[in-house]
């Protein structure tokens, strides 16, 4: 039993940072500001999974539950603010492309 859960535990320990890398890649390579936020969301999913796994493999899932719920609430607020930013940026520049946004700053 313990061996099996050790393998499972390592699977989670590998997956969560991989999601972080995917998110960083998505943010770093795109020029579209909405896609950046999507990259951020992918990273957050990685953290959610790791937190839940931390509770599960520690035998204390009830304790991480409020942490995950708090995290989701915070995430929604951040996302709403970034949506407000995006809409204001698009109103000013009529583009989602970071190159155009930087160019017009000039």
């Amino acid at each position: 039993m313990s061996f099996e859960s050790l393998i499972l535990f390592k699977c989670y320990l590998i997956t969560a940072p991989v999601l972080f890398v995917i998110g960083i890649y998505a943010i770093g390579t795109t020029r579209n500001i909405i896609a950046m936020i999507i990259g951020l969301e992918i990273m957050t999913k990685g953290v959610t999974v790791l937190l839940a796994a931390a509770g599960y493999f520690n035998g204390k899932p009830q304790i991480v539950e409020p942490l995950i719920i708090t995290m989701i609430v915070v995430e929604v607020v951040i996302l709403t603010i970034s949506a407000a930013y995006i809409i204001n940026i698009v109103k000013k520049h009529d583009s989602l492309d970071t190159h155009n946004i930087n160019k017009l700053k000039g």
Binding site: G23, M43, N58, L67, I78, S82, A84, Y85, K105
Partner: protein, 472 residues
């Protein structure tokens, strides 16, 4: 004292909004709260103790105030007070003033929550509170540059937050809780475990990003320089210091302790920031960008002091956080005065403003001298403490570097002072007048604080700094 400083701003915000009061009312309520926050550190019987007793009958909150929190509360109260006064000069409409006052109250509640927290995850929640409030404050005028700088700040800061959460999850895995006490026990037990070292490294990296230390400074100048004038005071004076530097101090002081590797990382990151921040500051053409890069350089000093790893080093870092909050707020207020009177901030287009704006020029000079570490201003004493801490911790090379880097500080500030305030009066600036009283009064107040803390430094050290880090 602790709980009431978190609850009172929330109650104030709700009271101000249920019958939607005017912006003026919100402004005075917020100012009164900041003044009360400052006073309640020294006089807890002025209401804060009673309110805290009342609240603790209903809630079971895991908060704790120590000397470190007190220093942060004082710095936050001073900065928020001055920043709100500065913002009012620029707020054209009543609704803008209303939103600003409410958001600053909420940000102050976030800062107070952060400094009293005893749990890694609670710290994350309050860091996000402060971050959300500052994203909104930066973009509140919806200027092009502010939106762009704010968006960059949002992305980079959120990545740092995710790293912090990763680290919290790993600590939870090892310790079974995110409380400071449990984590520090687990770190003692499983110190060599790769999970613990990964979590520690992730946490430090996240906080260095939030503090704008050199390899991660890309977001800082945009956010500082493009924010509205009053908000720059708040951002530059306290926000990055609480979310980045204070959390770092708390993390080392209360949670994990110092190891040799961590000290090396901090020393190198700090000295890089000091030197490179100062070098970039010399080349900048925008008043607020010079101040932003100078912030990076000064935060470098704080991190360097932490790198000493001793109680004296932490005390020096805290003292410098306080001094930096005072003199950087003062400089941002001065930049706001210049912006208000001339409408621009390009330093090459000025010259001789000192004849027209003697108070602004004089207070700016004092702030520069304090930042560069000239006695008797308070900046001198904190830099002296930093150098002493480094020297006694056997980091003599870094101590010498800290002394030499003060010359860089002098260089960029002299450059700024010369181009803006001294020299021949530019013909276009003939009809510039001194800034309104609403800007010169806060400047003089901060200036008095710099001089006062410098002259009374034995008392400041003995009453605030040394008790905070346990030096008798």
């Amino acid at each position: 004292m602790t709980i009431s400083l978190i609850f009172v701003p929330i109650i104030l915000v709700i009271l101000l909004n249920i019958p939607r009061l005017s912006g003026k009312a919100a402004y005075y309520a917020a100012l009164a709260f900041f003044a009360w926050q400052f006073l309640s550190v020294f006089f807890p019987f002025l209401g804060s103790q009673q309110i805290a007793d009342l609240i603790s009958k209903f809630f079971n909150l895991n908060v704790y105030a120590d000397g470190i929190s007190k220093i942060m509360i004082i710095s936050a109260a001073i900065t928020a007070f001055v920043s709100l006064i500065t913002s009012k000069v620029f707020a054209k409409r009543d609704s803008r003033l209303f939103a600003l006052s409410n958001l600053m109250l909420l940000a102050a509640a976030g800062i107070n929550g952060l400094v009293f927290a005893r749990d890694l995850f609670t710290m994350y929640v309050f860091i996000e509170v402060i971050a959300v409030a500052s994203y909104i404050l930066i973009a509140i005028d919806k200027k092009d540059g502010a939106l762009e700088g704010g968006f960059k700040y949002l992305i980079i800061s959120s990545v740092a937050t995710v790293m912090m959460l990763f680290s919290a999850a790993l600590f939870f895995l090892v310790a079974g809780s995110t409380g400071f006490a449990e984590i520090s026990l687990a770190v003692k037990d499983f110190g060599a475990n790769p999970l613990v070292s990964a979590a520690t490294m992730l946490f430090i990296t996240a906080l260095l990003i939030k503090g704008g230390i050199i390899p991660f400074h890309a977001w800082l100048s945009g956010a500082y320089a493009e924010a509205p004038a009053g908000v720059s005071v708040f951002l530059g004076g306290i926000i990055t210091k609480t979310t980045g530097i204070f959390t770092l101090i708390r993390f080392f002081y209360s949670v994990v302790g110092f190891s040799e590797n961590i000290k090396t990382v901090l020393l190198i990151a700090g000295s890089l920031s000091i030197v490179i921040g100062a070098l970039i500051a010399v080349t900048q053409k925008d008043f607020k960008r010079v101040l932003a890069y100078s912030s990076i350089s000064q935060v470098g000093y704080i991190v360097l002091a932490l790198g000493a790893g001793t109680a004296l080093g932490i005390g020096a870092a805290l003292f410098h956080v306080f001094n930096h909050a005072v003199f950087k707020s003062l400089l941002f207020v001065n930049s706001a005065s210049v912006e208000k009177e001339t409408g621009r901030l390009d330093i090459d287009s000025f010259g001789g403003l000192g004849y027209k704006m003697p108070i602004t020029s004089g207070t700016a000079a004092i702030a520069f001298l304090s930042a560069a570490g000239i006695p008797p201003f308070s900046g001198f004493w904190s830099k002296l403490l930093i150098i002493l801490a480094l020297w006694s911790a056997n980091c003599k090379g870094f101590a010498v570097l800290a002394v030499l880097a003060s010359l860089f500080t002098m260089a960029y500030f002299l450059n700024l002072q010369k181009k803006v305030f001294f020299g021949e009066l530019n013909a276009q600036l003939e009809d510039v007048r001194e800034a309104p009283l609403a800007l010169t009064l806060p400047a003089m107040f901060l200036c008095a604080l710099t001089i006062g803390a410098g002259l009374l430094f034995p008392y400041v050290l003995r009453l605030l700094i040394f008790p905070a880090v346990g030096i008798v």
